[in-house]
Amino acid sequence: MERVLRSHLAFLSLLFIALLAPANLAAQRTISGTVVDRDTRDPVPFVQIGVVGTTMGTVAEGDGRFVLTGVPDGTVTLRLQGLGYRTLDIPVPASQDEIEIALTTDYLKADEIIVTGRATSLARRNAANSVATVNAAEIERVPAQSVEKQIQGKVAGADIQKNSGAPGGGIQVNLRGVSSINAASEPLYVVDGIIVSNAAVVNNQDVVLQSSGGSNPSVLQQDQVNRISDIPPEDIESIEILKGASASAIYGSKASNGVVIITTKRGRPGPPRVDITQRFGVFDLSNKLEYRTFSNNTVDEVVEVFGELAREPFLQGRFFDHEEQLAGQHDLSSETIVSVSGGDDNTTYYASGAIKNNEGVVINTGYELQSMRVNVEQQLGSRVTVGVNTSVIHSLAQRGLFNNDNFLVTPYFALPFIPRFFDLSQRADGSFPEPPFGGGTNPLQTFTLAENEEDVWRILGAVELGWDIWRQDDDALQLLASGGVDWFRQKNDLLFPPELFFEPADGQPGTSLVSDSDNLNLNSSINLVYTHSPGSYTSRTSGGFQYEERDLNIARIVAQNLIAGEPNVSSGTNIQVDERRELVKDFGFYGQEELLMLDERLTLTGAIRGEQSSANGDDEEIFWYPKASASLRFPEVSDVFDEIKVRIAYGESGNQPLFGQKFVTLNATQNIAGNPGLTVNPQVGDPNITPERTREIEFGVDMNLFDGNAVLDATFYQQNITDLLLERQIAPSSGFTSQFFNGGELRVRGFELAFGVTPVRTDDVLWVSRTLFSTDRAEITELPVPDFVLNAVFGAGLGDFQIAEGEDPTKWVGLVDGELEIVGDTNPDFKMSFSNDVSWGNWNFYTLFDWAPGADVLNLTKFLSDLGQTTNDFEANGADRLAATSPVYIEDAGFVKLRELRVSYEVPIDWVQTWWPWAQRARLSFSGRDLLTFTDYDGLDPEVSNFGNQPIARNVDTSPYPPSRSYWFSVDLGF
């Protein structure tokens, strides 16, 4: 990689020597002035002020003052763009040299700057795509452990659901519907310009629970965390979401699931600003299954269910709430976040530190995080800017033992077979009662004695270089280069001491597991941007190339039959070691042209990207991803419509084959009594495999209404995904079970609506309300192989998915009286969210509701309690369910959730200053997350996925970590 970069840099330097042209001579007049907030009349710093039709511009100082020199004679138009303010064009007559300009707060985010290329950005009002953003203010309202939670309900077209209630992440993000069947379903995450890993590495609990030993061999049944959850939400300035190929084409073959661009906070020139946030909170179990109590049954009926050994405990007449005993913890959680930022004209900095300790509702579970970030930006002379962004993150997640299991160990596998009149609690001597029922496991013992820790260290570092190579009145040439490293090490330590009731089951009491996984992402890119703006139009031509490398190495040790129960893996008498390494190298290059014409009312964009990757069958083949878009604004249409924009965009992007889908291998990891042997690998790769290709067309209308008091964005899109990465089932008599290949076509159509309004905007009261709506439908329009069942769950008897021409792959199918029929849907009918933020004097009230009707969940947790005859409605319905000849455990799981709620109070600053004179800001707030859930679903939580992040096989409820709500009290102080 270095070699490549060096050669390109040398080539470029030669080129630029020729370009360093003499400075320009055409300076005419000077305009100076002040920028203020329209409502408060306070000065607004750091606003960008540009002269329309030129590349001339400056930035307002900390006191809102600015000076523009070299402004042409005659009337000019100044364009002011400030973060969080509406963009303003204001004409300045030839005679005026001093001006005060008032900006309006952009409550509805109509005028943000959004990223549209690898090195270029555009004002939202010119964009041809529907691009969603979530900014720091929206993130800070209610704390969340993982950044995806902070987007939930805030982006139209994003279906975000957590896979379980476990502390510390494990959340899937699905942008614009299903986009693949066997390849990755997650968007690409970019933090400060570098592509970061979102790998989900399993903890290996499967060795003990044998979840992959049953009807579904998937190893992804271990409640794994996708690693984007490491990024602390508090460090984020903004999150921008490119939802589909038409916006994300410039990210090539990793972008068909969308791109999430995260920018961390930066310092601003000015005196040091210190912010401290201290939170205290508590997590509270929000739902229980309430197993059958048998209080209406006779002792003989109870013996009929549980056997003779149930007689005596039943006659004692005591009942226990095992769920509450296990998951009723209310330990105090805390979070402390400190940041310092500031700088001068040449140097700005932002530094932060966070310490979090979140206690889970289940005993011995929780999530801790410590992080540090330093972002520094340095001007070198007038032409060069260097930025360095670094952060170090450490987290420790204890997620307990949940999800599928073949040993009746995880709580909702064990509890259905243990009657509620049997006492599981720890005895005075420290021992636990061994239930003579079911698998004989005691979840209270399991969770008290077993350890399952995921310890992650992560380092993110990025260097950005900006160089104004050449600037003349109408022309500017800029070089933007960046390099970045994202490294993490995930260490999983699991210990199952020999005393555990399930441990002797395999004849090898005691298991200790150590997994050490590390992943290194290397990124580098060089871009050139040439801007030419002669007045009548602005043309921005950019080009560049990127190199990326991802190297994941997982090494695991499993030790069983521990000598004297020693946790060290070397004390096992049965020690298994395995290693897996995945290395992918990508190279891409692109060219892009953006044209702003007709007084910036018409924006045209065209781009093409070429990409090679070692994940493809042929690592030299170049795949091309073009894009083109146009938007046209109609300002001041009428009294009602401030502005209407129509836009259309087309783009193509790809979804890379997963590592290994190109290889046809023999298995070289086994031996028999120490003699090495090669065996065939049942999955066959395709040496010619290519990325999936998504072609997306999107068109929409954006409206600004009622003098900036309302915005409405409506978008229709259609995606055609071809060359799907399919897994062909081969008749197993061939010796193989499946083969990857490209083929088929999937079509997704959808509609998104975002409506923002400020119903009340007075001096005292500001009410900002946003409503988001989205819906999408998918259909397999072409399939080169016979229809097939995906075999992604536990057999079509319970419910599975079918890939069939003309059908929606996200639909549940199941055997109804022996025939395969559609019996449900994992895709909600639509998603809708409502957020309301009301400020009244010093008080602020905020709520976010999330509504997703019509999706169905396969409730295997209920199947388990039916098997144990302990479902709370078992007497009425259980036998019918067990005898049913259709997939009765697929249940409607539509829901409305109160995602976020906050009440905050800005403490009057003079009051604070009487005893703490340095204070600048002080706020008290009470907030809560996932406080209310309204659903008909009988399981724990309609948001659930036994198989983790999946394009299709989501919504499977198999003994998940139970859901919780969180309450927080926060103090924010600034000085």
Binding site: G214, A505, N574, P682, S733, G735
Partner: protein, 449 residues
């Protein structure tokens, strides 16, 4: 000047775009070797490893809780698989409602066998391409030995396939390209004929195979790990197949060339090896959910001292009662499958003695048959010898002895009763229970046809 700069700037942007395409992106598979390495340009070491790999493949799907021993034992009412987490092991298996789409149930006992059959074909093909000159190649004798080994292992895998599928048949001409349509389903007789052909071919190969195999066998083949002694194992398999085909004369001939002996230990034979070493496999029959069918206890004959059949005592133990879906048992097989490294028999002397008795019964030689049966009764069961064995009761007695001698070690009870049309003698525990006669072909096998 300005215009020239503009053009240069544009040129710079264009050239940076094009400058990219020249990077070496090779990233190999660090985890496993490619198949083409073995089939295209085989080496002695790779072929030897693939040959040893046939022993790894052969034990795959044997000892798992949803493997061959467990499933065939459950349908033959030797065992229960009382899994609270998955009741299908007490519904589908015991009510004859196997779902051919469920890989752990109706689709079981298929994929692993054919994977190993593919492996043996890869070995056979690689041998043809391999040089005759060591150290990179193998001598003609070494190749013959390896061929004989691979064909015998393939015959064993096919035998297990047809044991589970019986009259449903199974494909045999499977050494073909992945792009070819699936191989046709052969009848049970055709499959048996293929097994016999393979074993007979292998016999010739092994006889020309010199003194030693050019690859290590597992400890489960101790005593049968040279071409000559391995041939005894080959003959033992042939004897079982010929008994299954009711070719009792051929069976006796094969037994004569096998290792059957009343002078040798009853457990002498060939085994699947399991160890706790890294990369090795452990015996999954050590499973807390596997219970003894209660009929095994109630049907056990008493020894002269009044205690039950010694084989019952030696193979089962009493545990806390487990109940599931109206089934109940307080016995497990912990003494039989005592540790993760307990080997699982492929074929052993005790079975061969009983096969000899069975062949003699089939040929009407009741005297020699009674001698073998009584040998087993006395030496394995601790029972008195029976003096009243005649043509009328010899088969009943033989099947009883096979039941206890080969208890829960490979579905013998189920296969034997099926061969004689006696599956109706198996006990039914609940209303609605029924006996599985043969496994269906898996959906994955029938769908592409």
């Amino acid at each position: 000047m300005k215009q020239a700069n503009r053009i240069l700037a544009l040129l710079a942007v264009v050239s940076i775009t094009i400058a990219g395409a020249c990077t070496n992106l090779t990233a190999p598979d660090f985890n496993n070797p490619g198949v083409d390495q073995l089939e295209g340009a085989p080496t002695r070491a790779a072929v030897a490893a693939a040959a040893t790999g046939l022993l790894i493949g052969a034990r795959d799907g044997i000892s798992e809780f949803n493997g061959y021993v467990s499933h065939t034992g459950v349908v033959g009412r030797e065992a229960y698989n009382l899994r609270g987490d998955d009741a299908r092991f007490v519904t589908q298996l015991l009510t004859n409602t196997l779902d051919p789409g469920a890989r752990a149930l109706g689709g079981a006992m298929w994929t692993e066998r054919y994977a190993n059959i593919r492996s043996s074909n890869i070995v056979l093909n690689a041998l043809d391409a391999l040089s005759d000159v060591p150290p990179d190649g193998m001598t003609p004798a070494e190749k013959e030995a390896t061929r004989g080994f691979a064909k015998t292992m393939q015959a064993h895998d096919l035998l297990l396939v047809i044991n589970s599928r019986d009259t449903n048949g199974a494909p045999i001409d499977v050494d073909q390209s992945l792009d070819a349509p699936p191989a046709p389903i052969a009848s049970k007789d055709q499959v048996f004929q293929r097994i016999v052909d393979l074993l007979e071919d292998a016999r010739g190969d092994l006889q020309a195979g010199g003194d030693a195999f050019p690859f290590p066998l597992s400890p489960g083949f101790d005593g049968f790990d040279t071409p000559a002694s391995f041939l005894q194992f080959n003959r033992a398999l042939l004897a079982r197949v010929e008994v299954y085909r009711m070719n009792f004369g051929a069976a006796l001939t094969a037994l004569g060339e096998s290792f059957v002996s009343t002078a040798a230990p009853l457990d002498m034979g060939v085994y699947h090896t399991f160890t706790t070493g890294s990369g090795d496999q452990t015996n999954g029959l050590v499973d807390q959910n596997l219970f003894v069918h209660p009929a095994v206890e109630t049907d056990a004959e008493l020894q002269p001292g009044g205690q039950p059949d010694q084989r019952f005592l030696d193979k089962t133990n009493e545990v806390t009662v487990r109940r599931l879906q109206d089934l109940e048992s307080d016995l497990q097989f912990q003494p039989l499958w005592s540790s993760p490294s307990t080997p699982v028999p492929i074929i052993r002397n005790e079975e061969l003695i009983l096969l000899r008795a069975e062949a003699n019964i089939g040929l009407g030689n009741i005297g020699p048959a009674a001698d073998d049966i009584n040998f087993i009764r006395v030496n394995s069961g601790g029972l008195d010898a029976r003096g009243d064995i005649d043509a009328g009761n010899a088969l009943d007695e033989l099947l009883d002895q096979k039941r206890y001698s080969l208890l829960f070690e490979g579905g013998h009870r189920w296969i034997d009763l099926r061969r004689y049309g006696r599956l109706g003698e198996l006990p039914l525990d609940r209303a609605g229970d029924a006996i599985v006669e043969a496994w269906p072909l898996p959906i994955a096998e029938t769908l592409p046809r």
